[in-house]
């Protein structure tokens, strides 16, 4: 008899708490972005494909389905840290198989050497190269993500990846890096 009482009491309690939890889950549901959008927002949108997927969103979908978070060299450590926080997994070092973290770069076409083949235009994931067949091409520098994808297809190797220049506006207060010029003393 005691056993039955105990079991039924527990059962009723379980039911009541279940109802409360169920109600809370419905009543206090937190609306959030689908996880893929959240992951995509953390990726650098370079669209370089170094992760092995054809762009940032496909990689975001892959992460949502359980792929590793350390395959994005342009994002580097910061992105891995942010992703680890979002996904609740351990931050791992960048997977060297996918490349290394590098300074931000921008593609520049040596315009006098360009033959106008349009191959780079087709390769550019963000349509940042202007030009037409047999016409000289040029990179819209501020749209370029520095993904490197246009370099390989170029048949005449006229595309350089140059580091984004430091300007007074985006200077990071690295006082140690100011070149100190030695001036001849006048006296």
């Amino acid at each position: 008899m005691t056993l039955i009482t105990a079991l039924s009491v527990l059962g009723v309690l379980a039911l009541i708490f279940g109802l409360i939890l169920g109600f809370a889950a419905v009543r206090f549901r937190v609306e959030s972005d689908p996880i893929v959008d959240q992951i995509d927002a953390l990726l650098p949108q370079t669209q370089c494909g170094q992760c092995g997927y054809p762009g940032c969103r496909p990689y975001a979908e892959a992460i949502a389905n359980g792929d590793d978070i350390n395959k994005c060299p342009p994002g580097g450590e910061t992105t891995i840290k942010n992703l680890s926080e979002l996904m609740g997994v351990e931050a791992k070092p960048l997977d060297a198989a996918h490349g290394q973290e590098d300074v931000k770069k921008v593609a520049v076409i040596r315009e006098d050497e360009c033959i106008g083949c349009t191959k780079c235009i087709q390769a550019c994931p963000v349509d940042a190269i202007l030009g037409a067949a047999k016409q000289m091409h040029t990179v819209i520098a501020h749209e370029c993500t520095g993904c490197d994808l246009c370099v390989e297809p170029c048949p005449v190797d006229c595309i350089d990846m140059v580091p984004v220049p430091v300007r007074p506006e985006n200077w990071q207060w690295d006082l140690q890096q100011i070149p100190v010029r030695v001036v001849e003393s006048s006296n």
Binding site: W173, L175, I178, V180, R181, V182, V183, E184, S185
Partner: protein, 352 residues
């Protein structure tokens, strides 16, 4: 030639931690001198022991933490902790009391929490409380103020007493603490607490030789000396007035109100102010910036809270003095105080 590149500001107020600490030592001098006058040179022996222990403990802790030992003394915080603890304990306490207390303060209370600036609790007071709850007899055995003592104690007697427990002529501390009336002397607060608990009225309780003068022989003068030292620190802008002010208001206002309604059962405000560790606590202990609130409003709340706790513990608690407990309890509340007293930043709706 080359030109040096540096970050602004290029001007710097050369008031280093050492300078700040030097002022603290200077401000402590009058109180320590008076303490020596009333309680004997044991104070100096305790100071020496505390400094030595602090030096060894700091070096050891820095070494264990893999930090350069040379930095250990630079910030002077260990010295201040040692000095405050040494002048807080009875002058004739056995040598191991101060050694245990100082080592605990430095190693556990400061370095285990991450070293300078990271400790949650006031190191000197945490050490004091550890000693008080572990060795209550030794920690409450204050010597008799010299004016009331039956037996005069020489310097060598003092050293003997601290290191072996007996003077040259074989007296122990308990015998030395006998007053002129042949009764063991307690500190004014201790005596008063006992007597009030034994249903004596205030007038009866105060009818003892220790209550000569303003607020107890010796103690009143020592407190006045620390008060003066503290005022110097405020004048020099080493400490702000908010914490000591808050603590004295928090202690004396409730004490005065309570005393007005229970004139025969309560400790007088005068005794509260000038007895025990009140002034030392208000100006030198509670003001430790690491463990106090940061904004002026927060400091004011922090001080008030300490003062009120001192009043409550002295009036109803189980220990005669309460500064150490009150400071530690207030230390715990600092994060909350800081959270709710954070000043409104410029341009965020505050009024000037």
């Amino acid at each position: 030639m080359t030109f040096k590149i540096a970050a602004s500001p290029h001007a710097h107020q050369r008031r280093t931690t050492q300078q700040v600490m030097r002022w603290v030592y200077v401000a402590l001098i009058p109180g320590v001198l008076l303490q020596t006058y009333f309680f004997g040179v044991g104070v100096y022996i305790q100071l020496a022991l505390a400094l030595l222990t602090a030096w060894v403990a700091e070096g050891l802790a820095m070494r264990l933490r893999g930090r350069p030992i040379g930095h250990a003394w630079q910030d002077h915080t260990a010295i201040v902790t040692a000095v405050l603890l040494a002048i807080s304990i009875p002058a004739l306490a056995p040598w191991w009391i101060i050694v245990i207390g100082t080592a605990f303060s430095i190693i556990v209370v400061k370095h285990v929490y991450g070293g300078v600036g990271q400790n949650l609790f006031n190191p000197a007071m945490a050490g004091y409380v550890l000693l008080l709850v572990s060795f209550p007899v030794q920690m409450t055995s204050w010597p008799v103020p010299n004016e009331l003592a039956q037996l005069q104690v020489t310097i060598s007697d003092t050293a003997q007493l601290i290191f072996s427990g007996f003077t040259n002529s074989g007296y122990n501390l308990e015998q030395l603490r006998m007053g002129v009336d042949g009764v063991t002397m307690a500190t004014p607060l201790d005596s008063l607490r006992n007597d009030l608990n034994h249903q004596l009225t205030l007038t009866e309780a105060l009818n003892k030789p220790i209550f000569g003068g303003l607020a107890g022989i010796g103690w009143a003068w020592i407190n006045i000396a620390f008060l003066l030292g503290g005022l110097v620190l405020i004048k020099q802008k080493i400490i702000s007035w908010h914490i000591p002010g808050g603590m004295l208001v928090g202690l004396l206002v409730p004490a005065a109100v309570y005393w007005m309604f229970n004139p025969d059962q309560a400790i007088t405000p005068m005794l509260h102010a000038l007895s025990g560790a009140t002034m030392l606590g208000a100006f030198f202990i509670a003001t430790d910036p690491v463990t106090a609130a940061t904004s002026n409003k927060g400091r004011w709340v922090f001080g008030l809270f300490i003062g009120f706790l001192v009043f409550v513990i002295r009036t109803w608690g189980g220990y005669p003095d309460a500064v150490a407990f009150a400071v530690l309890l207030a230390n715990m509340t600092v994060p909350v105080i800081d959270k709710y007293t954070q000043p409104v930043a410029y341009g965020h709706g505050g009024r000037s």
